[in-house]
Every structure is written in C-alpha cells, then in structure tokens.
C-alpha cells in the first residue's frame, strides 16, 4: 500500500501521545492504600511485569485515532491503479527519440513498457485496454475489444522512433476515446516528458508515469557543408556543431567522412551544458557528408548527421544580348570566379547549343523565334521582348516598386528584396501556368509579377521583368542586383543531388516518373512493400539511410537526420543527477485517490469514537 499524502503519517505522533496518556492514566489508577493487609487474600489481577495492559477503551481510542490519520494519508494500493468501476483504460506510450535513452536500469522505453504491462496485468479482469503510440503523430494500435494478452504483445512490440515528442495530439485522441465511454475510462501516460510541461487540463485527468532522469547526452546539432557559389575547392570547409546537454564533462571525438572517405577526427572535452564547433578545412571531397560522434552517451540517434556536398564544377553560360555593357559585366564576373565561364552568342546559335556544353542560356531583350523549348538547358530571360510575350499589354512599364516576394525561394537567399526597388523600368511578363512568382511589384497602381520561375532540374526557366543590365551589376548600388543575378544563376544551374537529406518526422513526395515505388528499406534494414495506389508520400521516422526502390530505375536514397535540440535535451527530471524510482513517481487521478477508501476510513473512525464514548459511559456508570 502507498500513500498519496504520506506527510499525514506524521500525525501518528498523536498515537504516541495516546499511549503516554494511557500510561499516565494507568498511573492515575493507582490507589494509595494505608496497607495491603486486607488485600493479600485477593488474587492479583495481572503479572506485575506486564506494565502495558491496554483495555477495550484504549483499543477503541487507538482505532478512532488511527483511522482518520490513515484517511488523511490517503492510502492507495500500487497494484490497483484503476477505479474498481473503470471498464476501459487507455495506455499512451511515448515513442519519441528521447525514450531510447539508456538509463542505469536500461532503456527508458523498456521501463515504460514494463510499467504499462504491469498496469495491464494488475487491472480488473473486466477492464479493456486501448494502446496509443505517441510521437510525431498519435497512432491508435488497437480497439477495446482486443484481448489482454494481445495488448501486452502490442506493448512488447512497440519501439521508439527518432522524432520529437508531441503528446498533445495523443492526449486529445485519448480524451475522445474517454468521451465515448461515459467517463468510466482512465488514461495512463508513460513518458519522460514532465507532467508540468503539458497543458494544465491534463494534470488532474491522467495517470502520469514519468520515466527517466539521466541527462548524459552529447549531440551533433548541425553540419554546414554548403560550398559557396563559384568557390574554389581547396578553400572549402565543413563545420560541425555539437552540444553537451549533460551536467557532466564529456570527452570524445567527432569524425567526418565525405563520399566514404575519412576527412578527419577532432578530439574534444566538452564542459557541461556547452556548445562547440569544429571546422574541417581544405576539404575537397564531394558526396554524402557524414559526421559522427565517437563517444558513449545515453542517446545514440543524435550522434550522426548527414549532409550533401555537391561536386565543384565550372558553369558555362551562353549569353544572347544586344547590350555590350551586359556582356562586359558578365565577362568581368567570369574572370573573377574560377567557376564561371561566359560566352556571347548570336541567337541563331541557340538551337545549336547542347546541354553538355552549356549550363545556362541568358536571353537579354532577345526576341525569340519559336517557343521556349530548348533541349534541357536552363534559361534566364531578362526583360524579354514583346515577340516573346505576345500577351504582354506593353513593352515597357514604368518604375516598379517591390511590394511582395517569396522569401522561401532560393533566388532570394541572402537578399533583402526591398533593396532592389525601385526598378527604373520593367517589362510586363505573364507567368507560365506552372510558374512561381518570386517578386511582385507595384506598377502604375497595379501589382505585376517582376520575377517568375518555372520548371524543374534541367528545364528551369526564370523570367525577370526588370532589365538587370540597367541596374549596374558591378556598381556599388547594384550589389543587391548582382546577388540576385548570381542566385538566379545558382538556382538555374543547380545539379540535383543523388541523395536526399531530410529530417526525421518529415514527409516527402517520392518520384513517380517511372512509376510508383514498390518497397522501402529503412535504416534498420526492414523492408516495407508499398501497395499499388498508395500515396506517393513517405514519412521518415528513423534516422539513417532509406532506400526507395522503383521499378525500372535506380533506387532513391534518402538520409534522415534527427535534429531536435529540445528532444536531445533528455534530462528533464527535477533532479537529473539521480534516478527517480518508477514506483515513487506514480501519480493518480484525484478520482482514484479520493476514492471510497479514504471516506470509509473516516466513517470507521467515527464509529470507533462513538463506540469509545459509549463504552466509557458504561464504565463510568458501573463505577
């Protein structure tokens, strides 16, 4: 038996007071007699050695005092965690990444499983159970008609994922199940999330079984391997950031591999609650970047991080423009960067361009003959002529002031679009059907698109209404325009990586070009066959390498990173230095704690006191 309010047991000191009073009263029962001369013939009542001989009155008083003390202490039985009348119970198990942390007694999730199993096994035989796995989204694993043994099997089969916890949806789902059963349902949550961090509406309505206390975790919180646009290989670097979430100093090493080659290993000593960065410079390799921590801690999932490093290459740009100043400016830019080569061509040579030789075609005020249908070569149209935009209302519009933009688009990365305005003049453009408007300007009181992009991979097209040639790309005032131009070139000429880097918990559409995928192999090597007609979205709940197999095409590789600082901070117990025993951290809903046992104890106390009053009165009358 345990007590919800054990401090009330301190009132037991009054029982000591009762015994002292009894002994004192017993002492009061002493009668001073002048002599035992006339009493010696009368048999003695008790052995004189038994000094403590409580009578009925004493026992009644003791019970009358003990019962309310026990009631105030609010006892409950550990095995019986449910109201005897509860017919349904919902078990919510937290399957987030932090539950995989290893405690002294084993994995946190194992402890949670054991507690859940104990709840199931100790419950009344008529109680039905439903199981909810809570992580990124809640999953109801069974209905209430499931046999108890099957519920236990489901509990044992549960595993943690590599995503952050969000118990709110799971609790809402559980609450909806409760409402379906007239409230005679209990909710039990097994998680390492403190109850105090949940919404206060749950705090008195669920049984909370917190697990875990260790904060021993060192995690990789970021890898930056972006090669700056047009940079030289030998100046490239990779930056790895780690964070120590524990209260102890950690020693370890961080290793970097790119494209399967070891780049370097850095040793470190991380003080408690600290961040560190490691710069791996002079990196020339390209390919899959894998950073890993070589140390032992409680959580392993955040000890690896994947990124992609594209190979360095030279961009060949063919420019068609009547403006020699633009040609000169582009040549100047090309000379300044080893990764760029610009060639001026006549428009009649455009048809002769081949994708392998030319990476980008820039058409500046060039009237196009035919359609925008060049063989797999990205295009940048700057201030296209009316022949190209036959639907344009006019050739040139007045000054344009930027009023809106899509700051998520890569061509605006690092740019404050407002610094571009106002444009002196712009050409009206009509966005293609599948186009994406990146910049919007206010022209003559009307909002008009200024920059539009369309296409994917090799058939990307960007249409820019303002004439960048008039913005002085090489001048001080044209710095933002130059950045816009370079971003456009970067985006148009970007090579798709052979692998995808995602974060765990994300969903992503898979390629359907050659048909839907047929199977997925997760980082643990488990194979899942995808049914025909299944949605072409995959969710990556585990960190590591995923292989998505398509018929008639090479497998698609996806690398999922676990990156959640809040989840990596696994030490959430009030005293992370010590382990909170699971038995002492049980909490009960007030309806269970304030159940009939406490009330009955008060009733019993009243009965004992009434009996004591009656017996004392009878004794007094007899005397």
């Amino acid at each position: 038996m345990k007590f919800a309010n054990p401090a009330a047991l301190l009132l037991s000191i009054f029982i000591a007071g009762l015994i002292a009073l009894y002994l004192w009263e017993r002492n009061r029962q002493r009668i001073d007699v002048p002599s035992l001369l006339f009493w010696e013939s009368i048999p003695e009542a008790t052995n004189r050695r038994n000094r403590f001989q409580p009578d009925l009155l004493f026992w009644l008083q003791l019970m009358g005092l003990s019962a309310p003390i026990l009631g105030l202490a609010n006892p409950f039985f550990l095995g019986s965690t449910q109201n005897q009348t509860a017919k349904h119970a919902i078990l919510v198990l937290d399957t987030s990444a932090s539950m995989a942390a290893i405690e002294e007694s084993g994995p946190r999730f194992q402890t949670a499983r054991e507690e859940a199993r104990r709840v199931v096994q100790s419950a009344d035989s008529s109680t039905k159970f439903a199981l909810i796995a809570a992580a990124r989204t809640p999953v109801l694993l069974n209905d209430f008609d499931t046999e108890r043994s099957d519920v236990i099997e489901l509990i044992e089969a549960l595993e943690t994922s590599d995503v952050a916890a969000d118990l709110e949806p799971a609790l809402i789902l559980a609450q909806k199940l409760v409402q379906q059963h007239d409230g005679s349902t209990e909710i039990h949550v097994f998680s390492d999330t403190p109850l105090e961090s949940t919404h206060e509406r749950w705090r008195n309505n669920v049984n909370w079984w917190p697990v875990g206390s260790t904060d021993d975790n060192l995690a990789i919180v970021g890898v930056e391997s972006e090669r700056p646009f047009l940079s030289r290989e030998r100046t490239d670097a990779v930056y790895v950031r780690i964070q120590n979430f524990g209260h102890n100093e950690k020693h370890g090493a961080v290793a970097l591999h790119i494209g399967g080659r070891a780049i370097g290993t850095e040793l470190f000593t991380a003080p408690p609650h600290s961040e560190h960065g490691f710069l791996f410079s002079d990196v020339s390799s390209s390919g899959l970047v894998e950073a890993s921590l070589l140390n032992s801690d409680a959580l392993d999932v955040d000890n690896r991080f994947f990124a992609w490093r594209s190979p360095a290459r030279q961009i060949h740009i063919a420019v068609v423009s009547p403006n020699p100043e633009l040609h000169a400016a582009l040549q100047h830019i090309a000379r300044a960067s080893a990764g760029l080569k610009v060639a001026a061509i006549d428009d009649i040579d455009v048809d002769g361009l081949r994708p392998g030789d030319t990476d980008l075609i820039i058409l500046h005020r060039a009237p196009l003959t035919g359609q925008l249908n060049f063989p797999a070569i990205p295009m940048l149209l700057i201030a296209p002529s009316t022949e190209l935009n036959s639907q344009a209302p006019s050739t040139t519009l007045g000054p344009a002031e930027i009023v809106d933009w899509n700051d998520a688009h890569p061509i605006l990365r690092g740019i404050d679009p407002q610094l571009l305005s106002p444009f002196q003049s712009t050409v009206a453009i009509v966005p293609p059907t599948s186009g994406q408007t990146v910049l919007v300007g206010l022209i003559n009181g009307r909002e008009e698109p200024l920059v539009v992009t369309t296409g994917e991979a090799d058939d990307r097209v960007a249409i820019v209404g303002p004439d960048l040639a008039d913005m002085g790309l090489l001048s001080t005032d044209g710095e933002t325009a130059l950045l816009l131009f370079l971003n456009l070139v970067d985006w148009l000429t970007a090579q798709p990586a052979p692998v995808s880097i995602v974060r765990t918990g994300q969903s992503r559409a898979v390629s359907m070009a050659e048909g839907p995928p047929t199977e997925v192999i997760d980082p643990a090597g488990r194979q899942a066959n995808l049914q025909n007609g299944a949605a072409p979205f995959l969710t990556f709940d585990h960190a590591g390498r995923y292989e998505i197999r398509h018929p008639n095409q090479p497998a698609e590789l996806v690398f999922a990173n676990f990156l959640d600082v809040a989840e990596s901070n696994i030490g959430r117990a009030p005293s992370p230095a010590h382990r909170v025993p699971v038995e002492d951290s049980h909490r009960r809903v007030e309806s269970v704690i304030n159940g009939p046992l406490k009330s009955w104890l008060y009733v019993i106390a009243a009965m004992f006191l009434l009996s004591e009053w009656f017996v004392a009165g009878r004794i007094q009358d007899d005397a």
Binding site: R30, I31, D32, V33, P34, L36, I42, R48
Partner: protein, 310 residues
C-alpha cells in the same frame, strides 16, 4: 485560657474545644485511669495509700510517736479515751501518655482525614487530662521509633503547645507499634494511662505485643482505632486498580469487583473484631473512631462508652 491557634488546622481543632457547650462537656469528662496513677500528688484518689490530710476520710489509726498532733481526732479521743489519728485516701496524679501513630498509613487515603481526626482526639484528651491537673505527654510513633513532640505538660495553659506541636506533624514513614512502644518505654518510666491512637493496620502479633508491653510497664492502656470511609469501603471509577501501599511501597493490581470488595470488607472486619476481642480479653479499653462521625459525639459518647473517659 487558651491562646489563639497558629494554623488553620489548629484553629479548627481548637474550635471543637472553644465552643462553650463543648468545653463544658470536656470539663465534665475525665480520663478513666483505672487505678493507674503516679506517685506524685494529684487529683486521683487511690486505694492503695492514705495520707494525713485530704478530702476523702479513710480510717483511724493509733497515734504513734512522731505523728503530727494536729491530725489527732480529738472527738474520738474524748469518746474512746485513746489517741487516734485520721487518715485520708491518697490522691495521686495520673499522667496521660498519648501515643499517636504518625506513619504514612494515617494519611492514606487523604479523603479519610484519619490523621486529622487522630490529632484532634489527641488534643482533646490532652485538654481533659490537663484540665484535671494530670500531666500529659504526647509522643508520635513512626519508623519503629517514638518521638516526644512536647515535654511533660502539667498546666491547662499548655494545651496550645500540644496543638501547635501536632500541627507540624506529617504522616510519613512506616508503622511498627511494637518497636515504637519499646522505644517509648525507654524514654519514660512514669506510670499512668497510655492511650494509643492508630489505625492498627499491622498484624495482630505486632499490636498485641505492643499493648501487652505497655500493660507490663504499669500503664492503664486504651486503644483508639481510627478508620475512614475509603478504608472501610474502597471504590474507584475503573475496575482495574493498582493498590499502592504508602508505607511499604508495595503494589498490587486487583480487579475491584463486588466479590473482591466483599472479601476485603470481611478481612477488615475480622481484623477489627480480633482487635476488639483481644483488648476486651486483656482489660484494655478500646474504641473505633470513624472519621465521618461528629468529633464531639466521639469524644462525649464513644470514648466514655469505651471506658476511656468517664
């Protein structure tokens, strides 16, 4: 005649002797000496001696050389033509020895007020004796010893001294009447009347030998048994009680059932009857004093009835 009492208890005891009616009754009482007198002249006529002058004519005897001529009965000489001398019955004093039990049993239970009653009796008897010019000596018995609380008193004006001395006493210690009497007999050899005031809660052999010693010492012995209501009929709110002997400090736990109380009463009455019988068989005056009774009735009625006073 009497001085004011120094304590409230003494004033209370004095109250008994201060009321005119009560004093007049005490004045009429005398200690029944039963022939036990001293050798000093007093107010008690004795039959075993004559004296030349007095109030009570005893007999004539022939004149012998040396007799005082004033004591010759000239009328008898004229009739009988021989010289005859009148003799009178001698009057001797009858010292009163009051032996007061001052042990702890006399103070238990406190509600019985046995010691208060005993000291009041002692004071009244002292007054009666002194009133008739008989000396008084008061001694307390405690812890196998006897202690004089005051010297031999001869004048009624010394009665307050008896009160004051007794008011300072506290009933403590153990009771051993035999040794206390032996101790007292070593203190004095002044025959007279010895009145033992005690609760007599000792084995019969003890009090019998003690009283017999007094008789052998030439005393006219009287015993006054003092008892209270609680001693006569012990009661308590709880059935189970722990009896604590205030003298021996022994304890005994008993259930105060009706049967046990009856048995106790039987034992007590047997003890009292034995005491009464023995005193009667040995010519000792005996009286049982119940502290719940009126003290005046005790002195004016019970004691004379018992032969202690007349």
């Amino acid at each position: 005649m009497q001085r004011g009492a120094s304590t409230a208890e003494a004033a209370e005891r004095w109250r008994l002797a201060n009321t005119p009616t009560f004093l007049s009754r005490l004045d009429r009482l005398r200690i029944d000496v039963r022939g036990k007198t001293g050798r000093h002249p007093g107010n008690n006529l004795v039959s075993w001696a004559t004296q030349a002058s007095g109030l009570d004519f005893a007999k004539h005897r022939p004149y012998v050389q040396g007799d005082d001529l004033r004591h010759i009965d000239w009328n008898a000489m004229a009739r009988l033509e021989t010289k005859l001398v009148k003799t009178f019955r001698a009057e001797r004093e009858a010292p009163l020895h009051i032996l007061l039990d001052c042990s702890a049993s006399m103070g238990a239970p406190p509600e019985d007020m046995k010691f208060n009653a005993a000291t009041a009796l002692a004071s009244s008897l002292a007054y009666i004796s002194l009133r008739h010019r008989d000396p008084v000596r008061v001694a307390i018995m405690r812890d196998s010893m006897a202690f004089q609380v005051c010297p031999l008193l001869r004048h009624p004006n010394r009665v307050p001294l008896v009160h004051d001395s007794l008011s300072l006493q506290i009933p403590v210690g153990t009771t051993d009447l035999l040794r206390s009497v032996d101790s007292y007999l070593h203190l004095t050899r002044l025959p007279g009347v010895a009145i033992v005031i005690s609760d007599f809660l000792v084995p019969a052999a003890n009090y019998e030998t003690a009283l017999r010693r007094l008789v052998a010492g030439g005393y006219a012995v009287a015993a006054i048994r003092v008892a209270g209501i609680q001693e006569r009929d012990p009661t308590h709110p709880t059935r189970r009680v722990r009896l604590f002997d205030v003298e021996t400090r022994r304890q005994r736990v008993v259930n105060l059932t009706d049967a046990h109380r009856t048995e106790y009463t039987r034992a007590r009455e047997k003890h009292d009857r034995a005491l009464l019988s023995w005193c009667a068989a040995n010519g000792l005056a005996f009286c049982t004093v119940d502290t719940s009774q009126d003290p005046r009735a005790i002195i004016t009625t019970a004691l004379p009835r018992a032969g202690i006073l007349r």
